[in-house]
Subunit: 133 residues, 2 copies
DNA sequence: CCCATCCTAAGACAAGTGTCTCAGAACGTC
DNA sequence: GACGTTCTGAGACACTTGTCTTAGGATGGG
């Protein structure tokens, strides 16, 4: 059985974001970046979070000089995909369209985005369903 | 300071859904509905979840004959709104438009929904921002 | 009256999260 | 080669989530 993907609590997500931004970081570098972003954590807290992420297989590390350097092994795309899928399954009957409708009704798009949406819809209408390449 | 809204774990969400569907329910009624939906919980589990929901102020109850009857005090709309806002804040830079774009790119809409989306966009374009009119 | 039944109240307990403390190893410097 | 700095490793500790047990009050049939 495929074991289902590990959950990513908010605190770990914040740390992951740092790794996505910078590509990689030591505990201390992550700590500094987080501090600049307003997260007042201790060194050990960040270390623990990176450790838990590694246990879950979402980052990997190797020793570089003195300290370990951590790199994400999961993309922000993938994390987004998982969160969205989970939201849609839990609150939108598994229908992404319902979520789109909800979003459009409650949050007007700015014109640039509206344009993009139209383009996507046009393509969708024109395109035969997928087919890679 | 406004204390931030209580979190709603998945198990509690499942119970809330039952209350939304039925309007209200006793523990046993909720249990039966959940069982029909495939959730194999004990009576006590459902009672605990309703209790926690009540503590969080998301349902209220009053005694009816023998048993307590529970009613939701939060709408599914509101729960959706909260979850979506939180997702957008955490993974889409607070930009609902980005989420819309993402959804459209990764999940083609069916034609009916595409139509609806176009209509909403048209309205949005036609309406001058602000000003009742 | 006594028992079976259904309900609530209380809380046990493991796993996951959020955050930190502390002991000790490796490093650079005088 | 003793010192302070920086890192890792181990784990503490409280709170939340997921799920259940157990004890005891109210109710209704015989």
């Amino acid at each position: 059985m495929a074991k289902r993907p590990p959950t990513i609590p908010d605190s770990e997500l914040d740390v992951l974001k740092v790794l996505w931004e910078r590509g990689q970081a030591t505990v201390r570098e992550a700590l500094e970046t987080l501090k600049a972003a307003g997260r007042e954590w201790s060194y050990a807290t960040v270390a623990t979070l990176l450790d838990r992420l590694e246990t879950k297989g979402l980052v990997e590390s190797d020793r570089k000089e003195l300290a370990f350097v951590y790199r994400p092994t999961i993309s922000s795309q993938e994390v987004r995909r998982r969160r969205v899928t989970s939201l849609v399954d839990k609150l939108y009957e598994g229908e992404p369209g319902l979520l789109v409708l909800h979003l459009l009704k409650s949050h007007p798009l700015d014109p640039g985005q509206a344009m993009e949406v139209r383009e996507i819809l046009d393509q969708m209408a024109g395109a035969k369903p997928k087919k890679k390449g």
